[in-house]
């Protein structure tokens, strides 16, 4: 397994959808490859951070404006 091949399967590895033999080959590669260990660690952290940063609630003022806008439009057309 090369570094390129190891990186290609990281998403499946993190989702536990990689076949067991492929997991074994990846883990053997990771055990001897510091750059790929760093890559896996930072890839996982990237997924978590990107998810957390964009997990925003709709602002209350926007929700109120949306409610008012829709009620007005829907009653006009109903």
């Amino acid at each position: 397994v090369t570094c390129r091949e190891a990186i290609e399967v990281l998403a499946d590895f993190l989702e536990s959808t990689l076949p067991p033999d492929a997991v074994g080959r990846l883990q053997a590669h990771l055990a001897g490859c510091q750059p790929c260990q760093a890559y896996l660690n930072t890839y996982r952290r990237t997924r978590d951070v990107a998810g957390a940063v964009d997990r925003v609630e709709m602002p209350e003022e926007m929700r109120a404006r949306l409610r008012g806008f829709l009620l007005e439009r829907l009653r006009d057309t109903a």
């Binding site: 660690n41 930072t42 940063v53 964009d54 709709m58 949306l66 806008f69 109903a78």
Partner: protein, 198 residues
Amino acid sequence: MDDEAALLRRLGAGDARALEDVMARHATRVYRLARGVTRNEADAEEVVQDVFLTIARKHETFEGRAALSSWIYRITMNAALNKRRGLRAEVETPLDDLLPAFEPDGHRAGDRSLVLADWSGTPERVLLSAESRAAVRAALDRLPAHYRAVVVLRDVEGLTNEEAAESLGETVAVVKSRLHRARMALREQLTHHYASRA
């Protein structure tokens, strides 16, 4: 499904309670996807308005074969991409320019300190600081819109690959490929960001 179809009919008739129900179930998710694709608060608000009007006015076109949330996500994606049209060249970078480079033998290419950089132990308070959030958002801005949409549905909303594919009208293989490439492009940018601060 019957429950959802009935809810949409009541919404189309201007029922305020139905509007509250639909908003409670879907407004935040629509907003996140709209904001994720447009990267702009004002555009996202217009998209959200368009989406809910479309849901109310075209509720008969919801066939009930897919989940209501998938139908709504598809409407959102179309509206957000329309809003985004013409702005694409502003910030977005071709994805290949953001992906890791490799030597012919399969080893990573580039600056050794970046190849070995492991910022994953950075404390949560630093990773989620205002400065770090700005860096993550700037990195997301540079992704093509279709890739950002997959990141929102998978890594923000926690949908499965199958649910994201149904919501975007794409195959599971396309969703998986875009997600992996998007994460790699984000990781590359964040590694440059954190390495320059180490």
